[in-house]
Amino acid sequence: MSKWPVKQLRGKIFIKHGFPFKSEFFSDEGEYIVLTPGNFYEEGGFKRQGGKEKFYIGEVPEDYLHREGDLIVAMTEQAAGLLGSCAIVPASGVYLHNQRLGLITVNEKEVVKEFIYHLFKTKTVRDQIRLTSSGSKVKHTSPERICDVKVPLPSTDEQKKIVNVLSALDEKIELNNRINAELEAMAKTLYDYWFVQFDFPDADGKPYKTSGGKMVYNPTLKREIPEGWADCQLGGHITFRRGISYKSGDIQDDGVPFINLNSFSLSGEFKLEGTKYYNGKFKPESKLDAGELVIAITDVTRNADIIGKAFVIPDIFDETPLISCDVACLSSKTFGTAYLEQLFNSESYHKYIKHYASGTLVLHLDLNGVKWFKTYQPPNKLLEKYEQHCKSLFKQRDIVLKENKYLEALRDWLLPMLMNGQVMVK
């Protein structure tokens, strides 16, 4: 099949073991972050662990502090499929090179480092590593055994060309993520300025509070709000729809897009890679349209980071999606989805709603908590104005997300063929 000469990696790459950092110095906060297999995506790539990092407060040996661009490989299978996953360290002076992770350096005459990163995503490499692994419960591999791996290896010139193709795709995906981050930050800034600081445009288009708009103390909310705004309980303005209870067998590689707990990032944003696919029975009316608001009503994170958080379903699916029972759809005739998304993801709301989550390992949200939330009701016109502002942001976000979806599919499809020479770069 392959056009390239098949060679062993020995002598072409070198792998250094990490340092056995002592667990007694692990902490919930600190300056240095200890990397673990949890920092790898199964297919490869660096996964930030927002809120779940292991910090280290003991003494740090100099040689084990990562630099930006370091290529690392997981040599233990903490979760299935992680064995042999590679990642590129995104920053210098923060991350620690932990035991069971290998730091890969290369013989530059023979291989290009970035090529190795992509190479280790292929089934060819992963299968070899998996088959030679040891350990009964948790599988391990070693630098020795990784060096035994045989791969089709083109010249460094060819390698560079292949890397260029894949990197262009990766860069665009990363860029798109940054565009979305900017869009989301914009929506939040505007929300805070209008609805938290109350500097929404008044009748003359001036910021209300700063221009001396009248504020009245509201005894229910125990704070000042603009004159004329009423207080209310959210419950009077919202309705819920529950998701579908599923069995693990209902989830397959193909099917109806299924929004679930994994679709939420820690800050509440939609996470494309968390989408699952559902194959069980459902009523047609259970399907949700893009633009509807969903909230997380279950949580398994350490600090209940996700519970109660919300996102607006993006318009990126080929088929309208379903939601799992860990998620609820929330509709309101009064408040717009963009407004509620900001409200639910705000720090003060999250601090409030956390207290309505109960359970030992898995937290469940008491929806009464959402209904009993006391807030103010801005005038409808202002709410509409905010939704209008956000509409274009959402549209742009969806385009970008959709683009990423296709770019990722394209990259994953091309990768194996580029690696074995089936597809050549001119």
Binding site: K172, I179, V423, M424
Partner: protein
């Protein structure tokens, strides 16, 4: 200093007794526990006897060997002396003394002599020191210990080794010690035998911090030493840590303790604990038996009611084999909120604490107080038995409050716990405390454990007793407000929503928006360049 030294010596004695057991092949044997605790108790009673006798008789106090001086006394005088000593010490004859056994250690059949002596002590003290089962049988103070050594030829040597350890140092000076001393010794004594080693019944040791908080809230400082003639009860007493703390807060002589616990081992531990803590007068109220099925303590036909109740009941357990038996007419009032159903798939997950909690509420005197450890899920459950219990407590105004503890306060269980304080006399505000953010995480073997600092413990106690509201920590609210929130007892649900926000000027806002705008401009233009690059790269691919 003296205290530490004696504590150390006492611990050494316990360790060397364990060493002997190990040498005779009893390490980790179920019977090791009986040997250690009973030998320790023998030593304790022997030395306590000496201590009390010396206090009352100068001749004995001044004698070079008190055992000989006692043995030389006429039977009449000895009886007089024992009468004056009262229940503070067990009734011992000169032949019961350790010294007496020590001097006969080379006699043939020493093991038999040893066992006979202990049994004789048990029988002569049965009226005070025996505990009862709910069926009425008596559990005596000692067993024939040497029988636990399977090899008969080793029994004499074993008993000899033990008696030689016991003469090494005298406990007499420890009887001046205070409560905390015994708590430490007791914990040390039972530490190896009080773990959840499989089986249905796990005797979790209630952490001291929890026990102290419960006692200090049930019996506030200003009431300590003023309450008199009250009854304290624990329907799942275990080794009695909670009761000891409450009895100590009230004053050991001012209260009578009543207990029941299904475990034989726990009941024995509890007896030892009572003896150590000068609560011998309560031993006849220690019952070994099933509290739910056969509650023992009664006043006439009715279940006895108590002034104070403390308990850390088991949370979940398989009681399917007697569940239906509980569902009877006479239990209607006692289990007013219902009896958990048998779970087809997870019988061991049946919520037995709900029954204990209802039993406790039912066993409380009008105006009485109780403190019960419950799983935190209890305080917010939206339906079922949990909610019905909370509803009764709120509607009938018999709550003092709830303290939700940090996770892993019990090293042995991952379940979050709260302490429920019931107070039938409180018609005012209820205090809810969210202490889940307190404590320091430490490693305890393989487990994560949270330890409360002394000042954190005090903060919980002060805030509760003072009914203070502290930001993000506690609230004091009326019964009505609780009823309005689905009877939830979770402090956090009553906290005010706080909005922390720093205002920005219109200029700053404009600047920020401008920032977004230019960032996006640059990203969009990079994006366009990349699009061109990607198209170029893709155009260069050839399929061969």
């Amino acid at each position: 200093m003296v205290e530490l030294e004696f504590q150390q010596k006492t611990k050494e004695l316990i360790d060397s007794l364990k060493g002997i057991c190990a040498n005779y092949g009893l390490g980790n044997d179920g019977n090791e526990f009986k040997i250690i605790t009973q030998v320790f108790l023998y030593k304790f009673l022997n030395d306590k006897f000496a201590y009390e006798a010396k206090k009352r008789d100068e001749a004995i106090a001044n004698a070079e060997k008190w055992e000989e001086a006692l043995a030389a006394m006429s039977e009449e005088n000895l009886e007089m002396l024992q009468l004056r000593m009262g229940v503070n010490s067990a009734k011992l004859k000169p032949s019961h003394f350790i010294a007496s056994l020590f001097s006969q250690q080379n006699a043939p059949d020493f093991a038999k002599l040893f066992d006979d002596t202990l049994m004789d002590i048990a029988i002569s003290n049965n009226d005070v020191y025996a505990i009862k089962t709910d069926g009425g049988a008596k559990v005596v103070l000692f067993d024939r210990l040497s029988q636990y050594i399977a090899d008969e030829s080793k029994r004499d040597a074993f008993c000899r080794a033990i008696i030689n350890k016991l003469v090494e140092f005298s406990f007499e000076r420890i009887f001046n010690q205070k409560y905390d001393f015994y708590a430490t010794i007791f914990e040390y004594l039972i530490k190896d035998y009080n773990s959840n080693s499989g089986g249905k019944y796990a005797e979790y040791y209630t952490p001291h911090a929890v026990a102290r908080i419960m006692a200090a809230i049930l019996v506030p400082q200003e009431q300590q030493g003023k309450i008199k003639n009250v009854t304290c009860y624990d329907p799942s007493a275990g080794s009695g840590t909670l009761l000891m703390n409450v009895a100590h807060a009230i004053g050991e002589k001012r209260c009578t303790i009543f207990t029941q616990d299904i475990s034989q081992k726990s009941s024995n531990l509890l007896r030892l604990n009572l003896i150590l803590n000068t609560l011998v007068h309560s031993i006849p109220n220690v019952i070994q038996g099933n509290t739910l099925l056969h509650p023992y303590h009664k006043d006439g036909k009715e279940l006895k009611r108590f002034d104070y109740i403390v308990s850390n009941p088991p949370f979940k357990m398989d009681f399917s084999d007697f569940r239906d038996e509980l569902d009877s007419k006479e239990n209607k009032a006692r289990f007013f909120a219902g009896i958990p159903k048998i779970k087809a798939k997870a019988k061991d997950k049946m919520e037995i604490y709900q029954l204990f909690l209802q039993h406790i509420i039912h066993s409380l005197k009008p105006g009485g107080k109780a403190a019960v450890v419950v799983p935190t899920g209890f305080i917010t459950a939206q339906s079922g038995i949990d909610k019905k219990i909370r509803q009764k407590l709120v509607d009938e105004k018999m709550l003092a409050g709830v303290v939700s503890m940090p996770s892993n306060i019990f090293a042995t269980t991952g379940t979050n716990v709260s302490i429920l304080f019931i107070d039938d006399s409180n018609k005012g505000d209820v205090v809810l405390i969210d202490a889940s953010g307190l404590g320091q995480k430490v490693k305890d073997g393989k487990n994560q454990k949270t330890v409360l600092r002394a000042e954190e413990e005090q903060r919980i106690i002060d805030v509760f007793n003072g009914k203070r509201a502290e930001e993000d920590f506690s609230v004091a609210i009326g019964y009505d407000e609780i009823a309005g929130k689905n009877y939830s007892l979770s402090a956090g649900q009553y906290f005010d929503v706080k909005i922390e926000y720093v205002d920005i000027t219109p200029e700053q806002f404009a600047e920020k928006m401008q920032g977004f705008s230019s960032n996006l401009d640059s990203l969009f233009s990079q994006s366009r360049e990349l699009e061109v690059e990607i198209k170029k790269q893709l155009a260069g691919l050839i399929h061969e």
